[in-house]
């Protein structure tokens, strides 16, 4: 694998250059201190401000990069009262900079999901011309919730990435994973230089330390095994159902949740059909026109989410629907989360 180094002080210059060719998405600080994946401004007067707000430290973005390719609200088509329909597909060239390794695995999961059976043009055209630059995690961004080492999705990637950065203090070691990554680095070669042997060594030891720094461990494989062969204990489901306030936070921050609702909106002869994220934890999710609601019981809705991610996704594609990012536990007001669920079914203790 080809390796380079880049000085951290050159990152903003690199991103500004890239901003001429790509739509650049990067973790940015927002009012209140939340770090969110955001689009770098194309306007000179606001670009400088955006650049200052970029945060590539070990902060985890509240949102996952999912919404770059699959926005929460997406217009699918425009139409008028003459019955003329125009599809609205977005296909800009994108650079997504600063994706965490677990979230990169989630993108691979999404790529598979949106291509199988029927190709989802909205997702795939957004994703088509995109370059992803991953930053490995020296420290777990959510120290109490990240459990990537148990799932095998981090804290660094070993393959399949375009570019992966290893944080070495004042500079990054740049690992180039494929031709797409190489093209990008070559195009901006003035910012990149060849690494010294020390730097490569430093990166290797950083990766080993990073592995140690992820302290939350769960028995993920045992959980998958149990899910494949056994029913989730009723008691477990009931306790989740009792506490869940159905806010939907866990599914909105989840980098692999894909469910959506579709609605039309029309005014003065012009209309749009849109899709909007929806979630199986909401009670109306499965309600049918007859009033019959097969998914009405709350504990079954809880089961559905865990089974889908841990059992059915793994059985179907070999890719787990949970990537260990920890966002669900971090965002849940009542401390329900995938890692707690896994702990409960693999040990006999209660964690929430």
């Amino acid at each position: 694998m080809t390796k380079k180094v880049i000085n951290k002080s050159d990152i903003s210059k690199l991103l500004k250059d890239a901003n001429n060719e790509y739509n650049v998405y990067v973790p940015m600080e927002h009012i209140g201190g939340d770090v969110l994946f955001s689009l770098l401004s194309k306007e000179n007067n606001t670009l400088e401000d955006d650049i200052k707000r970029i945060n590539l430290s070990s902060e985890k973005t509240v949102n996952s990069p999912k919404e770059i390719f699959y926005p929460q609200l997406d217009t699918m088509m425009e139409y008028n009262d003459k019955g003329e329909i125009k599809e609205t597909v977005e296909n800009s060239k994108k650079l997504v900079f600063g994706v965490r390794p677990c979230d990169f695995h989630a993108i691979a999961h999404q790529d598979h999901f949106f291509s199988k059976d029927y190709e989802d043009k909205y997702y795939l055209s957004r994703r088509d011309d995109s370059l992803i630059v991953v930053i490995g995690c020296n420290q777990p961004p959510l120290p109490n919730e990240c459990f990537c080492t148990s799932v095998g999705t981090g804290p660094f990637l070993t393959e399949k990435f375009d570019i992966q950065l290893v944080d070495l203090g004042d500079y990054y070691l740049v690992e180039i994973g494929n031709e797409k990554g190489a093209d990008f680095v070559n195009k901006h070669e003035k910012y990149f230089s060849a690494p010294f042997r020390d730097e490569i060594k430093h990166a290797e030891s950083t990766k080993l330390e990073a592995e140690e720094n992820v302290t939350l461990k769960v028995n993920f494989n045992k959980a998958l095994q149990i899910m494949k062969t056994e029913e989730i204990p009723q008691d477990n489901l009931e306790r989740i159902a009792e506490r869940c306030i159905e806010c939907g936070a866990c599914v909105y921050v989840c980098p692999t949740c894909t469910c959506f609702d579709v609605f039309d909106d029309m005014k003065d002869g012009q209309g749009v059909r849109c899709r909007i994220w929806d979630t199986c934890v909401f009670s109306g999710y499965t309600k049918e026109a007859s009033g019959h609601n097969p998914g009405a019981k709350k504990e079954y809705r809880a089961a559905r989410r865990y089974e889908h991610k841990l059992k059915y996704d793994t059985l179907e594609s070999g890719i787990s629907g949970c990537i260990g990012c920890g966002r669900c536990l971090h965002s849940c007001p009542v401390d329900i989360g995938m890692s707690n669920f896994i702990k409960e079914i693999t040990t006999n203790q209660k964690y929430h």
Partner: protein, 279 residues
């Protein structure tokens, strides 16, 4: 890449008011090329929409043996379906599909006796197969059609019911939950019809469509009459938003009803997780 979400205009050629809440629409694709290349299989459905109102899954009730048009029987259940009921001949609706890998078998059931059991708006999807069988009548044994509604004014396809009943070796049996004075057939739930005809697993396959509670009791009856789980075939209904296995709404266990169904054998249905309310 084809955009599967984009619907195509289809013009209403004729419409029949079946009952107080159900109308049958005969439509043709406005685009001749699309019309010519369009094929479907009995038991599949389309996503039917009105721009500005919404989209819903609707079974194709016409038989693939009758080409050049599509028929939908639509019950006014809510926002979209009520608006569709306001449409007139010559008006346009928008459709995409057909969807559902799980459809009714045809070649496989040749030579067999067939039992159809429908409740309420459950007859339209079965009708696609029934008329396909009628158009190939000599290839099949006895055909029994058991059809129950809440009240007599809910029955659809009244002329066809009579015509099917007149076809040799074909029997149509009706029942209502609540009878009016002029009702001459049976009163009671659809399983009551077992009293009026001899139903046995004698080289027979049963096809079911109706509300979950009906399905449950009919399956019990059929099992009592000796049917195996593979010879009980049903359509499952689920809230659906895409028909493409993407929106997630119809997901049950490892299946998506929209693409893996909507037709399943009872054997397959039994394997779905019970807690997801498959039945």
């Amino acid at each position: 890449m084809k955009n599967e979400y984009i619907p195509y205009p289809a013009v209403i050629e004729s419409l029949i008011t079946e009952s107080f809440d159900t109308k049958t629409f005969k439509v043709k694709f406005a685009d001749k090329k699309i019309a010519e290349n369009f094929n479907y299989v009995q038991g599949q459905f389309m996503q039917v929409s009105l721009m500005g109102v919404g989209e819903a899954p609707i079974s194709i009730t016409s038989s693939p043996s009758r080409k050049g048009f599509l028929e939908f029987s639509i019950r006014a259940a809510g926002k979209l379906t009520k608006k569709i009921h306001e449409l007139k001949v010559g008006d346009t609706m928008f459709i995409r599909g057909p969807y559902g890998k799980g459809h009714f078998p045809f070649e496989e059931i040749k030579g067999k006796n067939l039992i159809f059991v429908a409740g309420g708006i459950g007859l339209p999807p079965l009708r696609s197969l029934i008329n396909l069988v009628m158009d190939n009548r000599k290839d099949f044994g006895n055909v029994k059609i058991l059809y129950g509604c809440k009240t007599a004014d809910e029955f659809c396809f009244k002329d066809e019911l009579k015509a099917w009943n007149k076809t040799p070796n074909t029997e149509v049996l009706l029942t209502v939950d609540k009878a009016t004075d002029d009702w001459k057939c049976r009163v009671g739930v659809v399983t009551e019809l077992w009293k009026d005809t001899d139903i046995k697993e004698d080289n027979a396959v049963a096809f079911l469509c109706g509300p979950p509670i009906m399905i449950k009791f009919v399956v019990q009856k059929l099992e009592g009459s000796g049917f195996t789980d593979d010879n009980i075939i049903m359509t499952l209904e689920r809230h659906m938003k895409c028909g493409l296995g993407k929106c997630g709404h119809c997901n049950v266990g490892d299946k998506f009803i929209c693409i893996d169904g909507p037709v399943f054998t009872y054997n397959e249905v039994k394997k779905l997780p019970k807690k997801d309310g498959a039945m």
